[in-house]
């Protein structure tokens, strides 16, 4: 069976800096993959390569076996890759429902008019914002803005969902809600790649982890094994003799 998403020797260099260096991994259908690593290890750049925000210098990325790495971002979105952003990006001149509709009208699965409004309202309910559809998004709290962004990403019914530190910046209560929400998506059978620093979330949610350090993949496997790997521990905490 072909993987939902496969990354083959993806490399991205900015001048002399190699932010992502020959990274390869697969994501299976319905799997929740954690992409972790210390700050500056190239995780967000990796997500940007998948979503088309950046083009890989070398290597290939394929969605269900179909090469997407030379397509522009909007074509990749239409093929079925949706994402949220590290720093939340809502559309301030639209209300919450309009924000979610943005994801429903042009993406992988498209709807328009009353149907799109209905879908947006349903998704807002799904992420816990029922009844707040007509609230201006800049009057919303941080977690509510993140919820709007997640609902927008879900609105096109994507084949692969990319979450870039979606849980960062939430307080403990919000974090619990956030983890429950992502868990819910996983049970629904969504294929998700999650860049995350929150260890609790990684342990409780991820089926598998890929660990990056200085642009390279240093580990790939189930969560407990990977987190116990001496090289991973060294990457996070420094070498034992340092």
């Amino acid at each position: 069976m072909t993987a939902a998403l496969s990354v083959r020797a993806a490399t991205k260099s900015f001048g002399g800096l190699v932010a992502v260096n020959e990274v390869s991994f697969d994501v299976r259908q319905g799997e929740l993959l954690g992409l972790i690593g210390p700050n500056g290890s190239g995780k967000t750049t990796m997500l940007n390569l998948i979503s088309g925000a950046l083009k890989p210098t070398r290597g290939e990325i394929a969605l269900s076996g179909e090469r997407i790495s030379d397509l522009p971002a909007h074509r990749i979105a239409q093929k079925g890759v949706a994402r949220t952003f590290q720093l939340v990006r809502v559309l301030p001149s639209l209300d919450a429902e309009g924000n979610v509709m943005a994801g429903a009208v042009f993406g992988h699965m498209r709807s328009w008019g009353a149907e799109a409004h209905k879908l947006a309202r349903a998704l807002l309910g799904r992420v816990g914002l029922a009844g707040k559809g007509h609230m201006p998004v800049d009057a919303m709290t941080y977690i509510d803005q993140k919820r709007v962004e997640l609902a927008r990403a879900l609105a096109g019914n994507p084949r692969v969902l990319l979450l870039d530190e979606w849980l960062a910046g939430l307080n403990p209560t919000e974090l619990k809600l956030g983890i429950a929400l992502i868990d819910d998506l996983r049970r629904e059978g969504r294929t998700i790649i999650m860049v995350e620093h929150v260890m609790d979330a990684i342990r409780s949610l991820c089926d598998r982890c890929v660990v990056m350090n200085s642009g390279r993949k240093i580990a790939d496997g189930d969560v407990e094994t990977v987190l116990g790997d001496p090289e991973v521990v060294a990457a996070y905490l420094g070498d034992a003799d340092a």
């Binding site: 925000a53 522009p72 971002a73 909007h74 990006r89 042009f106 992988h108």
Partner: protein
């Protein structure tokens, strides 16, 4: 297409009545007021067509004079050989084609460069026309003789303005309009929800350019004698920007709010202080940018947003 809501039908009805009333003006007056109204209608069409593209994208185009001048010249060159309505259609095609070319070349570059490029383009087209005429024709100018009077020009401008409004209205409620709204908010998000941002912007720029060229073609008979400095007058580009900014570009009727007072003001100023027109325009530009950067409609929007935010806060407090 989604069916019209009751609100939208009301707007359409009100718009139709307003345009019908405006069309009656030549029956009342054929002198000063008609002449003033020709200017108002002209700039209403130009500013609304300009804002159609520049409002949502925030790309300030100074190419209005290029499209306008090409429209004027289409009529000037073809009036002896072809029927006038056909020339209007050709002008629209030429305007759209130029906008398409410019768009494909420049809409990937960011705001400031786009402004400079469009300004340079208008000058370039003007120089090209001048050069071609001196090289291949005997005179720089062209005579346009038609049996169209002021009121006919006025009626055509009313029809054009109505067409611009109707088109903008239909675009705003379409996927393209929604895409432009998202692009105006955040282009990165727009691309990542699946919008071909470059294509959307080019299509809109072409529609806008076509309307502006038709406005130039309609005005051609009024000049009688067309020459590059008047047809490609850069002042047209600047005035359109000032008036649209004064009114505000977020609402369809925004530019109109700027056009009416500004055209009347300009008319008074150029009649009473013919030598100081430029100073007044400069001062007006400064005042608008400093005092009402989002235009008159922007002020209204802000007041509404404040009220809405307060209502939302009170709602939350009540719920808590």
């Amino acid at each position: 297409m989604t069916p019209f809501t009751n609100d939208e039908l009301k707007w359409l009805g009100a718009g139709a009545i307003l345009f019908a009333v405006a069309a009656l003006l030549p029956l009342v007056d054929q002198g000063f007021y008609l002449s003033l109204s020709v200017n108002i209608m002209l700039y209403a069409a130009l500013c609304t067509a300009w804002a159609l593209f520049s409002g949502p994208t925030h790309y300030v185009s100074l190419a209005t004079a290029a499209f306008y001048g090409l429209g004027t010249y289409t009529v000037g060159l073809g009036i002896d050989a072809m029927p006038y309505p056909l020339l209007l259609a050709i002008a629209a095609l030429i305007g759209a084609a130029l906008a398409g070319l410019v768009g494909a070349a420049t809409l990937r570059i960011s705001g400031v460069y786009f402004v400079i490029f469009t300004f340079g383009l208008a000058e370039l087209v003007r120089q090209l026309v001048t050069w071609t005429q001196t090289k291949f024709a005997t005179a720089i100018g062209l005579y346009v003789f038609t049996d169209l009077f002021e009121q006919h020009i006025y009626w055509m401008l009313v029809a054009l303005t109505a067409a611009v409004f109707l088109t903008a209205f239909l675009i705003n409620r379409s996927r393209l309009g929604f895409a432009m709204q998202i692009i105006g908010n955040d282009e990165t998000v727009a691309r990542h929800v699946g919008i071909d941002t470059a294509r959307s912007k080019i299509v809109l720029f072409m529609i806008s350019g076509a309307f502006i060229a038709v406005a130039g073609a309609i005005m051609a008979p009024r000049y009688s004698y067309i020459e590059p400095p008047s047809a490609f007058n850069p002042m047209i580009s600047f005035l359109v920007v000032i008036m649209a900014l004064l009114g505000g570009t977020k609402r369809l009727w925004g530019p109109l709010v700027g056009v009416i007072p500004f055209t009347i003001l300009m008319d008074q100023v150029s009649a009473r202080f013919p030598n100081h027109t430029m100073i007044v325009i400069g001062l007006a530009f400064l005042a608008i940018v400093y005092l009402i950067p989002n235009g008159v409609t922007g002020l209204l929007e802000q007041a509404r947003a404040r009220w809405k935010a307060r209502a939302a806060r009170m709602g939350q407090e009540k719920a808590a």
